[in-house]
Amino acid sequence: MIIRRRKAGTIGLNLTSMIDVVFLLLVYFMVATEFKTAEESFPMDVPIRNHGQTLALDNEPLVILVESSGVGEKEIRLRLEGPWDPISSLNALSTFLRSNKAGGFGNSGLFTENHPIRIKPTSDTRWEHAIATYNIVVGANYTNISLDEPL
């Protein structure tokens, strides 16, 4: 009977099963991970509506009427309620709000920073157009902005 001599091999850990599990975990997390998209937001207060007796407002709010005229980003119609000149675009609205701001350049404006501004879109206005208008008002550094009920 022939007796084979055992090889004098080095003692080592068998890494194969660990690598199997590790790769399974890696594949699982790679497939299961969803990256959060970069989102930002506009803060807005939603005060409780008072249905009782209300005091007269100190300042008559500036009401901005918004309507979508198409699906494009710039296809938007704006109008200011009151004795104001017609506004043709978001840029014109921005200019109007900035130039009529009290304490601003020349200090000849009518509206203070916390003057109430109400954005009043129509029922069919696209959300992006309402938000674009909101963005213009925020960009002009007004702080008291609300979204009104649809026209």
Binding site: T10, L26, S41, P121
Partner: protein
């Protein structure tokens, strides 16, 4: 000069750097997958040009998603794992109320850019009906700034 014999062991790849990198990748994915906001439904959010929006602080919040269908309509409202029908706004009020009592302070409103304002206003009014005047965040896409 004596020549040494080559050992007869098998040729092995050095596994150590590969395992190092693999573990690093696993740790990365484990950490990243925990910060995903699972309440957020994938939507085409409005992306205003020259946005004056800010990154919302990490306050505990409840996310209200208006799920769009064609033509600016919505199929329902997804909030906290529940889907609320368009004509059941009372349900939205009660879910938001429960979450606010559970410690949330903000309400994140997410809607598709094409959604009609009519539905946005209905959602805002339902949130207002909670009665505790939470801080609302109108969520927009901040990726293209």
């Amino acid at each position: 000069m004596a020549r040494r014999g080559i050992p007869s062991s098998a040729i092995n790849a050095n596994m150590t750097p590969m395992i190092d990198v693999t573990f690093l990748l696993i740790v990365f994915f484990v950490v990243v997958s925990q910060i995903v906001d699972r309440d957020a439904v994938p939507l085409d959010l409005p992306a205003p040009t020259q946005a004056a929006s800010g990154i919302p602080d990490s306050a505990e919040h409840v996310t209200v998603n208006l799920v769009p269908i064609a033509g600016g309509e919505i199929s329902g409202i997804v909030v906290g794992g529940h889907t609320v029908a368009v004509d059941a706004m009372d349900e939205l009020t009660s879910i938001v109320n429960t979450r606010l009592q559970g410690g949330a302070t903000d309400v994140h409103l997410r809607a598709d850019r094409a959604t009609k304002y009519l539905y946005i206003h209905q959602a805002i009014e339902a949130i207002r009906a909670v009665g505790t005047s939470p801080r609302m965040q109108l969520v927009v896409d901040g990726e293209y700034r």
